[in-house]
Structures are given as C-alpha cells and as structure tokens.
Amino acid sequence: MRRASAAVAVFGAALVAFAFMLLPVVALFTHQSLHDLLHQVTNPVVTDALVVSFKTSAIAQAAILLFGTPTAYLIARNRFAGRSLVVTLVELPLVLPPAVAGVGLLVAFGRFGLLGSTFDALGIDVAFNQAAVVLAVTFVAAPLYMRQAIASFEAVDPNLVAASRTLGAGPERTFFRVVLPLARGGLAAGAALSLARGLGEFGATIMFAGSFQRVTQTLPLAIYAEFDRDFDVAVTISALLVIITAAILLSLKLTALWPSSLRSSRFLFARSISS
C-alpha cells in the first residue's frame, strides 16, 4: 500500500516538473491562433530582426571558429606555466553578467574606450552598428565553443598524433587528417552551443550596440522593444526563437551521436537505441 502511494507521489512530482517546464513554451504557441502567428512573421520588425540576428550570428560564429579553433588546439596540446589561468580567463565571459560584458566592451572598444582612438585612426567605427553586435555576441558566445574545443582536442589520443608524425605527416597534415576528424563531433557540439547562446544574447548587445531596427535590433532585442508596443509580435518572435534554438539543440543531439567516421553512420539509429 505504502509502496503504491510512493510511486504515485514520484509520478506526480515528475508530472508537475514537466508541466512547469513545458507550459511557458506551449503557451507561446497557443497565445494566438496559428493563422495570426504566421501572419505576424511577415511583420517588418520580425523579418528585420531575423536578418540582423542571422547575419551577426553568422559572422560571429565564423570569427569564433576561425580564431577559437587554433587557440583551443594550442591550449589543449601544450603544457605551460599559467595554463589553468589561461583556461580560466577563456571561461570567464561564461559567468560574467551580460551587463558587465556590455560595459566592458564599451570601455574597451567604445569611442572613449581603451582602443577608441586607435579604432578612430584606423577608420573603424563600432559604436551602435552591426560590428558592435558581432563583438558583443562573439565575446559572450565564444567561451562555450572554446571550452568544448579544448576538451575535444585533449581527448584525441596523443599516440595517434605521434603515429601520424612518424608516418611522415607534418603538423598541418596531422591536424587536418587526424586531429580535426577525431575532434569533429565535440567541435560541432561546441559550435551549436555557442550559436544558441549568441542568438539569445541580450544584455551585452543592448548596452554596447543599442537597439535600432534593421541595424542592431536582434531577435531578443526586438522582443524587448515590442513588449510594450505590440505584445503579439513579442510572442511571435519568442515562438520563432523557440523553434530556432530547439532546432540547434536537436542538431546538437545528433552530432553527439556522430560516430568518428561517416562511414559507420549507417549505425546511427541502432546506436541511439542501444545507448
């Protein structure tokens, strides 16, 4: 008897937890009719924000991959004094409040910041334009990729790297033929995480880049702007972001199932069941 009531209690707790997590997401799609929702998607505020978000995220992601990958490899493959300090610094933006990140970016790259006059002399203007959005997104999202990339590179068996070298391959060939393919799954997961984080970036962007439609107003900033003006638009953008981030999460789950080689990908589904 007692056993049965315990089972009911556990089941009930799980039900409450699931409902609590799921309801806000469901409500975003039930707040207005599907017809209205689809209609709102064509609203210029929404399409502009979509374009700004996709463009800045794409550039930021490219910068993260381009600069982050070699940096992560360097940190993963070398043992040097102060290494853990470097790793901590890389991770710092993860825990930094976004508002602090925004102020930090301002006093570093803003007109009156550390590099302001240098940027001025070079003709680079990062005040309240898309370059500022890219900087903010990169700063906040990069650590998620870096952490994962360092861990993925560290997980590659050093003996495989050594074997490649003794087989006549130089450092570059070794990196592209052995290290990169073996770390690929982890790198993709890191990229997905940082992409999702970058798309949701709010605090640092609004402080450093402002919220100007068609220029710096990303999807999260548009939600905030429409919150007082047209609540239905805010809900529509929120629903859109749910779909986009859910798609990223789903692809992340799939990359986790990625075998080290595409050749064995025929086992993908069988493996997902057994694991």
């Binding site: 050594a162 074997a163 003794t166 006549g168 391959a169 080689s261």
Partner: protein, 345 residues
Amino acid sequence: MAELAAQLTLPLRSFDLELALEVGRTVALVGPSGAGKSSVLRAVAGLARPTAGRIALGDDVWFDAERRTFLPPDRRSVGLVFQDFALFPHMSVRANVTYAGAGRADEYLERFRISHLAEVEPGELSGGERQRVALARALARTPGVLLLDEPLSSLDSHTKAAVRVELQELLHELALPTILVTHDFDDAAALADEVGVIVDGRLRQLAPPQELVASPADTFVASFTGANLLHGVAHAHGDRLTLVRLESGEEIYSSDAAQGDVGVVVYPWEITVGRVHHEQVDSALNVIRGEIRSVVHVGSRVRVRVGPIIAEVTAASAEKLDLADGGIAVATFKATGTRLLPLVR
C-alpha cells in the same frame, strides 16, 4: 644497409635515461616497466628530444645536441609500431596503410594477409589483425629503421606464439636496423641478435641472448634471463670452492670465488629433481630438500618449485616422479653451474 647509432641522455620523471647503442640488425631492449625502454624508441623516432648525445642513421644525422640538430619525426626514416598500435580509428585499414604514402600499400596489405580487411575499420579487428595493420602501415613508408614497442604484449598466448614466428621471419627478411622493446626475455631471445637489459635508464648489459644467460653481468640480468636468484653469505671453502649459507638456511657450494653478501644464480634447466638423493652415484654437490610448492606446465616442460628453488624438467619425468603440490622432493645441481654475483639492489 645503414647502421643506426644512438647515444643519448634523456631526462625522465625519476631518473635520466642514458645509453649508447649501435644497431645493425635486431636489438631487443628488455627490462622492468618504467625502466625507460619505450623512451629510447621515442627519442630515436623524434617524439622526445634528448638533452645530449647524437642519433644518426648512417651519414644521416637526426639529432646532434652539439650542432643543435633535431629532425622532427616526419623527416626521420623510421617506422614505429606503438604498443597499442595507434591505428587511426576513423580510417579504413587501407587508408591507415596508405597514410604514409600510397606507393607500396597494396604490396604490404598482401604481405601481411590483410587485403580482405582493407575496407574494415580498426575497431572491428582482432588484436593479431591490428598488429599486422600496424606493421604494414609502419613499413609502407619503407623506413630505414624499425622500432617495435612491446610487439607481443597485447596478444593472447595462443596468438602470441604464431605471431612470434611470423615476426621472426619478417625481421630476418627485412634485415633492417630494428630496436624492439619487451619485458619478456624469451621474446627478446627469440627475435633479437642482441639483447640489452635496461634498468632505471641504464644499459646493464648488451650481448647476444645466449651470452646473457651464460655470463650475466649482475643478479638483475640473471633473474631477467629466467635464472633462480637466491641470496646468501659466501665464505671461502677448501678445494677452490665457496660455501654459501642461503637466507633460507641451506648451505650450497659454488666454484665461483666470492666473499660476503652474494646473489646465487642457478638456471632451472641445470637442476635435476628426484624423490631421493643418492650421494654415492651423483656428482652434484648441492642438494636442496623441500616441499613441492608448485607444478606449472609450460609447453613440453614442467616448472617445479622445490623449497626456494625452481627446476625445469620434462613432462615425462614429472609424470614418472609423480610430482605434485605438497610432496617432498630433492633438487640437485652442480657447484660449477652455480654462479655467484654481486648483489644489485
């Protein structure tokens, strides 16, 4: 065929590896784990940088501390077979073998009888198959030096015997300067022309295997070659004999001269085992009577432990004498087959 000459100092965690080797054919390095054997291979391959010395294959200098020469691994003509084989898990067998260059890949796939596995990935191979792939891959580069790290250790005992014979033939056929590392003296003796015993980073003795057995430089080398090693205190005894009182209490004789603490070395195959000892008909001076503690079959031979000492007899004699755990037996051996060596701690 160019010879490999390596003379190097390489700091390891708890000691410096320091040795000099001239490798014309196959040299086996044996020693306990952690002795620095694998580090020798890493240094020769260019995966570790010694602090002093010189490594050269013929006129081709790979490392010279004085001239600050250090060629990276990819510029040394070397084939290294790793202990865990280090096959690329994301590539097929063929891709692994062609990694070093497509040139002779098919020939080596054929040579090692792995053509039918060409499209398989390493994860699906057995230990023996993996080893053949690793060998094919290392040799496909047609290296001037072959380095083998514990080539037989990850194989089960059944596969091991067959692979040892294959490896023997291969090394003979290749006639390359080869350094192979193993912790098993029998493997070393079977595969190598010369065996070097390394302990704590130093080469204790480098000689053909039969010479290591016949005249080991110290007790460590002796015990590594499979000899019984007993401890005792030696005193000169008349008749140009030395009397040794063993730690276990027995007294034995040796024709070697020694005084004080010594290691007593006797090979198992020089010891006869009986149920009783006939002093009148046996010239052997040394008699140890004791309980039979273990009887282990090793192929056609049987290793019998009598008291503190291990003897090797044929399976037939073991059966005839009905040797079994717990019985009493007598181990006898000659004073001339009893080596006295300084103790190495």
